[in-house]
């Protein structure tokens, strides 16, 4: 009997694996008529449903651009909320086609987990948030503090390394989702909340009293947050990757959702023409039609517009472009040439 139970559970586990990865995601998405996109369970500015239940945010806009490019409908996306623990399984099992969920690109995840990181849409780093009345000005003063942390993330490892390297003690309080962490932090069950600085800013923006909370100056890690697809399907990886590059390149070339209709008539700039499909055959090389990039950019604007609308200075999140500016502006955003 016990043997049967064990084998039964192997069966359940293998059923999970059995659903994995067919090799032609692009065709599957077209047949299905919607893109399945893995997002967070709710992080203001990046991916969270609005008052009408429509998903909004920076990561969400990336998925909408892919849906617009492939299916000609930015709303043809099914958003699947995933936790830090479930996200990779969801992607590997084919439950989602693309993961846009503040996922850090690391060696192990890329090589050992067989994920394909197609483009870094946000350059981030891990930081700390504390209450202003605690009087802490630097992360080096956090010896003995209780730290709330989302479990199953790279932040957990960075945190251990940082406190170890600085010879400090701490008490980790592992927490499953950002919402719970927020609740614990606000209740004072932990002194410090640590996650990516963008996430801290987004979380702080949703507080009733954001001015009473301080994000400490130390950034203790590199967190390149990347859009991720399954390994082993280069065509689909290409579609997602170049849709993202199209958004980046559009900003660099000055293509916005306002002037794209005009530019699509043809311009004197051959690269704009190639991107927008009035020249060359880049679309068909991807397996799409020539107007794919026009639709992707029209969905939510270019990278800069998406950034400004969701997490930029004008929003409650209030993140500066910083590392996420174009390479011409001193940032790290750099799309390979469209040729």
């Amino acid at each position: 009997m016990n043997k049967t139970v064990l084998l039964g559970s192997i069966a359940a586990a293998s059923a999970l694996v059995a659903g994995a990865a067919s090799a032609n995601t692009l065709q599957e998405v077209i047949d299905r008529g919607e893109v399945r996109c893995g997002v967070s369970t709710g992080l203001a500015g990046f991916s969270a449903p609005d008052a009408n239940g429509v998903w909004q945010g920076f990561d969400v806009a990336m998925c909408r651009a892919v849906a617009a490019a492939v299916l000609d409908d930015p709303m043809a996306v099914e958003f699947v909320p995933t936790t830090g623990q479930t996200r990779f399984t969801a992607l590997a099992s084919g439950e989602v086609d693309v993961l846009a969920r503040n996922t850090t690109w690391t060696f192990t995840r890329d090589v050992d987990l067989n994920l394909r990181f197609v483009g870094i849409n946000y350059y981030d780093g891990q930081g700390f948030m504390v209450r202003g009345d605690l009087g802490v000005g630097s992360a080096t003063e956090l010896d003995g503090a209780t730290v709330c942390i989302q479990t199953g993330t790279t932040t957990e490892l960075n945190l251990a390394d940082y406190f170890r390297a600085n010879g400090m003690e701490y008490e980790p309080v592992p927490i499953e989702t950002n919402a719970e962490a927020q609740q614990q932090y606000l209740a004072g069950a932990c002194d410090v909340y640590t996650t990516d600085v963008s996430g801290l800013a987004a979380t702080r923006a949703s507080f009733a009293d954001p001015e009473n909370h301080v994000i400490l100056p130390e950034v203790i890690s590199k967190e390149p947050l990347a859009i991720t697809v399954r390994d082993g399907d280069d065509r689909w990886a290409g579609v997602v990757q170049w849709t993202f590059f199209a958004l980046v390149a559009a900003e660099e070339m000055g293509i916005t959702s306002a002037n794209i209709a005009e530019l699509a008539q043809g311009t004197d700039n051959p690269e704009i023409n190639r991107l927008l499909g009035t020249e060359g055959e880049l679309g068909s090389m991807l397996g799409l039609d020539p107007e794919w990039a026009i639709r992707a950019i029209s969905a939510g604007g270019n990278y800069g517009e998406i950034f400004a609308a969701n997490i930029g200075d004008g929003t409650p999140i209030g993140l500066a472009r910083g590392l996420n500016a174009q390479w011409t502006q001193g940032g790290l955003l750099y799309a390979p040439p469209f040729r």
């Binding site: 479990t151 251990a160 592992p174």
Partner: protein, 418 residues
């Protein structure tokens, strides 16, 4: 007479008998089903391996030897982030066992009390216990865990409330216990003349603890000898010698002497920096899990106890009363020994339930086996299949051990049929 044997057909086995002969048919069906079942599992395993290979993943437990890299807040053995995933899993396993044992003890105490009291003749007491049982067993465990956790974190004062001249909170029980929203800090036992520890390679054993266990064990054994002697005297002479003061001496004196020799004292928690330091820190996650599981399962145990007591016929009580036994003695000597036969088997299931339900720990961030091996380790290494299989195996072994031990106990209390 000789002709009767020839009237029966000779025993010839024909293949068709496998299907048409009642003697063989059930056997045939069982063999066929067995082969189909084996084929099904072979297909499942093959399917798993093929799909793993297609994903470019191998099946290996090497990750257990890699550096874990994450910290665990509650550790019963020495652990830091530079140790291996295997070690982290052991730390998690010990945390699982700790909370399981604590919750089993609490559930048994609460359950037996509530079960006996529910049969009380006092209407109020019986009514209260009915309300307890019905409320607790009809609301899911997870909700109880979350409710207790929420009460602890939201309603208790933060450590900073204990600070300064105008502190809004103060410690309880003559400044020895601090109840905060990060857990409860209680005094810890310390020994100023400690005997040290034995290094067992992967973990340390306190010699103080061994000494205490040995002395207490010897005292209990000596006391048993004393009582046995008293009974022997009583049987021989009809007069039972007074033993209560000897018992107290035997039980109390050695352990007090040992504690004095070891320099036993309590370490009190005190506010230092962000948190309380010193003392034993019972984290909210542990408290929530412990109490929720204990009180929730206690409701089921109470029903088991009640059914066990009710299963003993009223004639037994009346017979005991007729012999002149008082109600307390009747319960202890007549009812309970018989009731235990009915109580133990379902009690085993409740202990197993508690042990398995400890995996709900993740909800409140208690670092049990599910959170370390089944959570962070799986996540950092991406070895879901291996991690899950290993975890299932461990839970299976723990459950089998518990049920094995309880079955031994059951064999001792069950009706001896001669």
């Amino acid at each position: 007479m000789a002709t009767t044997a020839e009237t029966f057909p000779r025993k010839v086995f024909r293949p068709s008998m496998l299907l048409y002969d009642k003697r063989y048919r059930s056997l045939t069906i069982q063999v066929v089903v067995l082969f189909l079942l084996m084929g099904f599992f072979a297909w499942l395993i093959d399917n798993t391996l093929t799909n793993l290979a297609a994903l470019g993943r191998d099946f290996s437990f090497r990750f257990l030897g890699q550096t874990a890299g994450y910290d665990i807040n509650q550790r019963l053995i020495d652990y830091n982030s530079q140790m291996t995933h295997g070690r982290a899993a052991v730390v998690g396993l010990l945390n699982t066992l700790l909370v399981a044992v604590l919750a089993c003890v609490l559930a048994t105490v609460v359950g037996v009390l509530a079960g006996v009291l529910r049969l009380s003749n006092n209407w109020l007491v019986a009514g209260l216990m009915t309300v307890y049982v019905e409320i607790f067993r009809n609301i899911p465990t997870l909700l109880w865990i979350l409710i207790i956790f929420a009460i602890m974190t939201e309603a208790m004062p933060p450590p900073s409330a204990f600070r300064g001249e105008d502190a809004t909170s103060s410690m309880l029980l003559w400044d020895t216990v601090a109840v905060t929203n990060r857990g409860v800090y209680i005094p810890e036992p310390l020994f100023s003349r400690s005997l040290g520890v034995i290094d067992m390679g992967s973990f340390l054993i306190s010699i103080d603890l061994l000494a205490i266990v040995a002395v207490v064990g010897l005292s209990i054994w000596a006391n048993k000898r004393l009582l046995a002697h008293a009974t022997a005297v009583q049987n021989a002479t009809g007069i039972r010698p007074k033993t209560w003061w000897k018992s107290i001496l035997i039980l109390v004196l050695p352990i007090v002497a040992l504690l004095v020799v070891l320099g036993f004292h309590l370490g009190y928690p005190e506010l230092r920096g962000f948190n309380f330091a010193g003392g034993t820190h019972l984290r909210n996650s542990l408290i929530a899990l412990w109490f929720a599981l204990g009180i929730y399962t206690g409701a089921f145990v109470a029903e088991n106890v009640r059914s066990g007591i009710l299963a003993v016929s009223k004639g037994q009580t009346e017979a005991a009363f007729a012999l002149g036994l008082r109600p307390g003695l009747t319960m202890r000597l007549v009812i309970l020994p018989q009731a235990l036969r009915v109580i133990i088997p379902p009690l085993i299931s409740q202990y197993l339930n508690i042990t398995k339900n400890t995996s709900l720990a993740l909800a409140v961030g208690y670092m049990d086996l599910r959170s370390t091996l089944g959570g962070i380790t799986i996540n950092q290494t991406g070895r879901e299949l291996e991690g899950m299989l290993l975890m299932m195996l461990i839970y299976l072994v723990i459950s089998l051990l518990i049920s094995g031990a309880m079955n031994v106990y059951n064999a001792r209390v069950k009706l001896k049929e001669r």
